[in-house]
Amino acid sequence: MNAPARGDGNQAIAWAALDAGIGFLSHYPGSPVNRVADAVRAAGGPCVIDDALNEHVATLATAGASFAGARAMVVMKHVGMNIAADPLNYIGLAGCRGGMVLAVGTDPGARSSTGEEDVHWYAIQCGLPTYEPTSIQALYDQIRAAFDVSERHRVPVLVLVPGRLAYQSEPVRRAAPLPPRAPSGFAQDRDAFINVGQRAVTNHRKLLERLDALAITADDGQRHGNPDDGLGLITRGQTYRVTLECLDRLGLTNRVDLLNVERVHPLDAASVVAFCAGKREVVVIEDQDGFLEHVIKQRCFNDLHCRIEGKSLFPAWGEVDHARIAAVLAERCGVALPATPDPLAGVPERLGTFCEGCPHRGSFFAIDRATAGLDAVIGGDIGCSSLPPFRNDWLLCMNAGVGISQGICAVSPDQVVISTGGEGSFFHGGITALQSAVENGRELVHVLLDNESIAMTGHQTSPSAAGRADIPAMLAAIGVAHVLEADPFQPSAMTQVIQRALALPGVKVVWARGRCALEPDAAAEERRATRSPRIAAERCGGCTTCHDELACPAIGEVPGDVVDGDVLAIDLDRCARCGACHDICPNGAIDLDQELARARL
């Protein structure tokens, strides 16, 4: 175990939990921490892995394992904390038994999320000790130690893992693994678990007292530079190493005093006050909303005698990068910035598109055709169905499609509204939203995009795969008036299905079933083996429906002859043989089978 092995953030989290003797892991997949469960699963061993359908049940299940004495961890992305917030507010009141750790992936810069919300504030609201590792090794060490902290203070411990850390890669030195402890089983404790009235107030007081006991223990943060300098820098997480490098490149390493805080809540106020003593100025270098600056000022206000700045220098949006930190340091220290190249203008952002063979391509083609000329509102979900982003009228959060749509339908009944959502979202909470629409008598068409996979986050298994969950029966059971099945690889027929749904009363679900192209089943493999699609130039009318409207990336322009110029052709190295282009071509110019085409000629 002592020889370092290269790993990324997801692996470091998994290895740390395994080496800490974890007995239970629950998760809801979300970038950048979508592969922790895979890494735990790949390691084998007795840890129970729970593939939860949303973060609420994932957190509750993890709490249950902790209450029964097992070391347990729950993994989610930052927006999932909004779903988990209800139980998170109460687990600390009841008190952990086996250590409980939350590994939460954050996304400053919103590289793979609909927002870059700052979830640090849940630390205060829910009473969660919170750690911010600066490196892959630190991530491993902090996750491992977090179980001890959780058991010592009987609270869940939060470790924040930004995307930039989750996707880092470096060698990790692992400690000797602990064996999983045998769970003691759940033991009744009414004083702890029955939180109502005065008992809830008492438990709240006890939680705060436990956090105060942790607060007076020393943080293991790093300190560098010249302790006698009048300028102090305080960092957390990813800004630490960037700041160190900026200082090195500016020749300031021995000029300023730097403190990195690893435990941002509860703050080791004594260390911070000692650091700030004698300083004329302290700059807090952090991204997002300025949580560390806030807690320093809030907890140390009466003991600080220097100027503290942070968010006045570093924006709350985006990532705080080399350029921004170097500019502030150079200005504060009166040194020249090294010349940096002028930024290039006009590099377009690549906003995302459906993969070749994605069933969502045909579904949105059908929605567009079914609503042509109607000025329709298309409600968007998140996940693969939100690529590309402008096929829907909003891109906000899971089940925003079916949720927002029913509010619009209620007050603006003359508007044509079609909501969309993946089957992952359906099981996450969309079924409840649909039942709410039924209970409230809404007139709503919902297109359920079932690709049999929770695809965007790495193809986690969906309950719809292998027919485990009977979606039509579930929809009928909650009172959905009409369930219409459609094949997104036959967009022409699906268009008619949607038009039929629009004409029906009540809540209607168009169940669009089509396998994810990156997880081909036997039928998809058969199509790949036997189809050689081509666009017959002699029949192509140049309408570009396949290229512009269906927008398949496998269809592109290639040089044609001198007379006709560029023509459209199918790149067989990229084509998934789904057949959607063959279906929608108005001129019958796309042949799926070259033998058939030769027979026609």
Binding site: R111, E170, L244, D573
Partner: protein, 188 residues
């Protein structure tokens, strides 16, 4: 010995991350320190993907996981728009190996008529711009081997201890099992 700051860039599905993994392994086997960071979006394929590698002969505490602007030594790009994007963020590299043909997936219509390889050549005149996919198809019978080809061609741009082509090929074959058959009959 001087280190090297390298970026591998492309779009999802081109094997950017496989090449990144192999180059990290090259550094590990050679006893060098390699701090790597992957940047990718939410899409499973066809989205922008880049990976930064900070290669040093010795570990250094004052080394961030991301490359500062103006410090990029080598850029290997499997798609020219992604090469331009990297140059826009970090400045022109000291040396570059770039795929000539662009992939228009996910780009606005107005940008599809531009020539990103030519635009990159304007900011990095010494860049080696070539049809990697076409060359990979000619050499291996599979255009998806462009990432292997790019890595092999980029080895001379790396510090001397990391340039062994036999080691690169061996590590690539170990990492990308699906294409190992392309490498078995290759003469060195």
């Amino acid at each position: 010995m001087r280190g090297c700051d390298l970026v591998v860039a492309g779009i999802g599905g081109q094997g950017v991350l496989s090449l990144f993994d192999v180059l990290c392994a090259v550094a590990d086997v050679a006893g060098w320190t390699c701090l790597g960071t992957v940047h990718k979006g939410g899409a499973q394929s066809l989205g922008s993907v880049s990976a930064e590698l900070r290669l040093r002969p010795q570990p250094s505490a004052a080394l961030a996981a991301t490359i500062p602007p103006g410090a990029l030594d080598v850029l290997v790009a499997l798609e020219p728009w992604e090469a331009l994007r990297c140059a826009a963020a970090l400045g022109p590299p000291r040396a570059a190996l770039i795929e000539r043909s662009s992939a228009s997936a996910g780009l606005a219509e107005v940008d599809r008529g531009r020539d990103p390889a030519a635009e990159f050549a304007a900011v990095c005149p010494d860049a080696d711009i070539r049809p990697l996919r076409t060359d990979a198809a000619a050499r291996f019978g599979d255009p998806r081997m462009a990432n292997y080809l790019a890595g092999e061609l980029a080895l001379p741009l790396l510090p001397a201890p990391l340039r062994d082509p036999a080691r690169f090929r061996r590590l690539f074959a170990a990492r990308v099992r699906a294409v190992v058959h392309h490498l078995e009959e290759l003469p060195l």
